[in-house]
């Protein structure tokens, strides 16, 4: 049984079917990358796992730690170990970042350490995401996740719109959160990362990549290899190639 197992997942958003039978799995301690063009259903997948409103599961199941989470509310899923860094987090006027962090984790030392690592100490007294630049929002998201320390981190485009300096800070936080300094066998925390640019791959080593197009998983494979093919041939040209080469592969196949 995988840490996260998604079976034949169909999801509707605004009355339209976006995911049309997605199957994928992520093992404990592993990082999966999701590639896919705009509108392919990547963010819908993360939203459905997190339980966000607006994403209605019509068929299939999401099993996390061996348990179906479909009946759990957002906060239950969070407390069960699922955390999410949003691509476009809302600004919440009046709620200070530091106040939220205290609600999430009462360990003040860890909050302070995390804020220092992400160069966010001067932001904790500011309203959550209000007036934050793109890079600051991303750092705020990763800081919140670091403080939350989820077992499964859902990262929606963590590097989009972020300059090199900020990507480096974000990656540093992610490496700590995902225990990248430990041997792979001793890592417990997993992640699913959506990326358009693949830039984050220069900083965070992923274990497996999935390609999603038009609500389907075309296949999975070695992240670097798949990313190179996308860069060379684009998504459309590679559709058949992915389907033939990587279909039915899983993490164990890649390790072999």
């Amino acid at each position: 049984m995988s840490f996260l197992e998604i079976k034949d997942l169909h999801v509707e958003a605004e009355g339209r079917e976006i995911l049309k039978g997605v199957n994928l799995s992520v093992d404990a301690g592993r990082t999966a990358i999701i590639f896919g063009p705009n509108g392919s259903g990547k963010s819908t997948l993360l939203g459905a796992i997190a339980g966000l409103p607006g994403f209605r599961v019509t068929r299939g199941d999401i099993l996390f730690k061996g348990k179906s989470i479909l009946d759990m509310d957002i906060d239950e899923r969070a407390r069960f170990g699922i955390g999410m860094a949003f691509q476009y987090p809302p600004a919440v006027k009046g709620v200070r970042l530091g106040v939220l962090l205290k609600h999430v984790n009462s360990d003040g030392n860890w909050v302070q350490t995390s804020a220092e690592m992400l160069n966010m100490t001067s932001y904790v007294d500011r309203d959550l995401n209000v007036g934050f630049s793109g890079g600051e929002r991303k750092r705020s998201e990763i800081l919140q996740l670091m403080v939350q320390m989820p077992d499964l981190a859902l990262l929606d485009e963590p590097e989009s719109g972020v300059d090199i300096e900020n990507i480096s800070l974000i990656a540093q936080g992610l490496r700590v959160m995902l225990e990248k300094d430990k041997p792979i066998s001793r890592r417990q925390r997993s992640a699913i990362v959506i990326t358009h640019t693949g830039l984050i791959l220069d900083y965070i080593k992923a274990d497996i990549a999935y390609v999603i197009m038009d609500g389907h998983v075309l296949g999975c494979g070695a992240p670097g290899e798949i990313f190179d093919e996308i860069r060379q041939h684009g998504y459309k040209k590679c559709t058949m190639c992915f389907a033939e080469k990587y279909r039915d592969m899983n993490t164990q196949d890649l390790e072999k």
Partner: protein, 360 residues
């Protein structure tokens, strides 16, 4: 006195906290008054008439006409109960003065008349708390406050209302802000009061400022008709009115007026409302009047509900739905008031915290 200490704290009257003076009234009886600072005078208004003749001759009903309304007419016909507070020239006081006006139900009406006088360059903070001794008592509280701020003086005036569901409250206030003086009013009401009507006025002199902040949490069936009027009469004067209103079923009419009457006036108002229930009503009436071409007046107003997106976002961090909503409402009410002393801010935060956690 038969009132729980925590009830006093919930209206900002904390006998353990540092204060420069105290004044407490129950119904029509003055229970205590004290003053521990040289240059500060705190006494019953009636006593002040004897000690300082100018208080009766020049200050009493000097800013508020006796015939302004039925309440002022009533007040003008009886011996006043309330305080006279004076700070001498140049005396700056760090610890706030605390005052409590308690309604125990001994009479149907509680009539209060206060006069505050700050001489040139003086500064003071006053925290006024008003409450029933017991939630079940019913009646009317009428509070008249006339404030005279001398040149370059500064007054922070915090009013915390913690009235019960059968109380009607009619404060009448007027402030004369002298040249270069600063007036900061900070009003908080979070309890399930039946009715509050108030529309205080500040007349602002040259290069002086008046700022009104109000936080109103209207419970089911509460009715508020509140606001402030800032008349910028002096050259280079400024005014600000900021209100945050939450209704969970109550009705709030929020009237704000800034009148820019002469050269170089600057005024800004911001009225934000949050509706938590379908039967709540927030009626925001921001009004700007310009009477000179060289003025700058502006306002922002909004009424909305709690954003589902924001609630969901906070829930992804593990907060329950009610916890997330509560955090957002608390944040909405967190008006960042520049110049409010930390010790007063602590009192205000504590009152709001108690209200949000259902202790009030």
């Amino acid at each position: 006195m038969d009132i729980a200490p925590e009830r006093l704290v919930s209206m900002g009257y904390d006998s353990c906290a540092a204060s420069c003076g105290r004044f407490m009234v129950l119904d029509r009886d003055i229970l205590e008054f004290s003053c521990g600072i040289s240059g500060l005078h705190v006494m019953p208004l009636k006593t002040a008439f004897e000690v300082y003749p100018h208080v009766r001759e020049n200050l009493l009903f000097g800013l508020i006409p006796k015939d302004k309304n039925d309440f002022t007419k009533m007040a003008s016909r009886v011996d006043p109960v309330g305080y006279y507070v004076r700070v001498e020239k140049g005396v700056k006081i760090a610890d706030p003065m605390q005052a409590a006006f308690l309604f125990g139900g001994a009479h149907q009406d509680q009539l209060i008349h206060n006069i505050i006088e700050l001489e040139e360059g003086a500064s003071l903070d006053i925290v006024n708390g008003c409450a029933n001794t017991h939630a079940g008592t019913s009646g009317r509280h009428i509070g008249i406050t006339e404030t005279y701020l001398g040149k370059g003086s500064s007054l922070g005036y915090t009013m915390i209302h913690n009235w019960g569901p059968d109380m009607e409250v009619y404060p009448v206030g007027a402030v004369q802000v002298g040249e270069g003086a600063r007036y900061l009013s900070n009003y908080v009401s979070t309890s399930p009061v039946k009715r509050i009507e108030t529309y205080p006025k500040a007349t602002v002199g040259p290069h002086a400022s008046a700022r009104y902040y109000s936080i109103i949490y209207a419970r089911q069936s509460s009715y508020f008709d509140t606001g402030a009027f800032v008349a910028l009469e002096g050259e280079g004067s400024s005014g600000e009115i900021i209100s945050r209103v939450v209704s969970e079923g109550g009705t709030v009419i929020s009237r704000q007026t800034i009148s820019g009457e002469t050269k170089g006036c600057i005024g800004h108002m911001e009225c934000s409302g949050l509706l938590l229930a379908e039967n709540g009503v927030i009626h925001s009436i921001p009004e700007l009047r310009g009477k000179h071409p060289d003025i700058d007046l502006s306002h922002e107003a909004s009424i909305g509900r709690i954003s589902d997106e924001e609630v969901s976002y906070l829930m992804t961090r593990g907060l329950g739905k009610e916890e997330a909503r509560s955090l957002i409402i608390r944040g909405f009410l967190d008006v960042k008031i520049a110049g409010l002393p930390d010790r007063v801010k602590v009192i205000v935060d504590e009152v709001i915290e108690q209200a949000m956690s259902g202790k009030i």
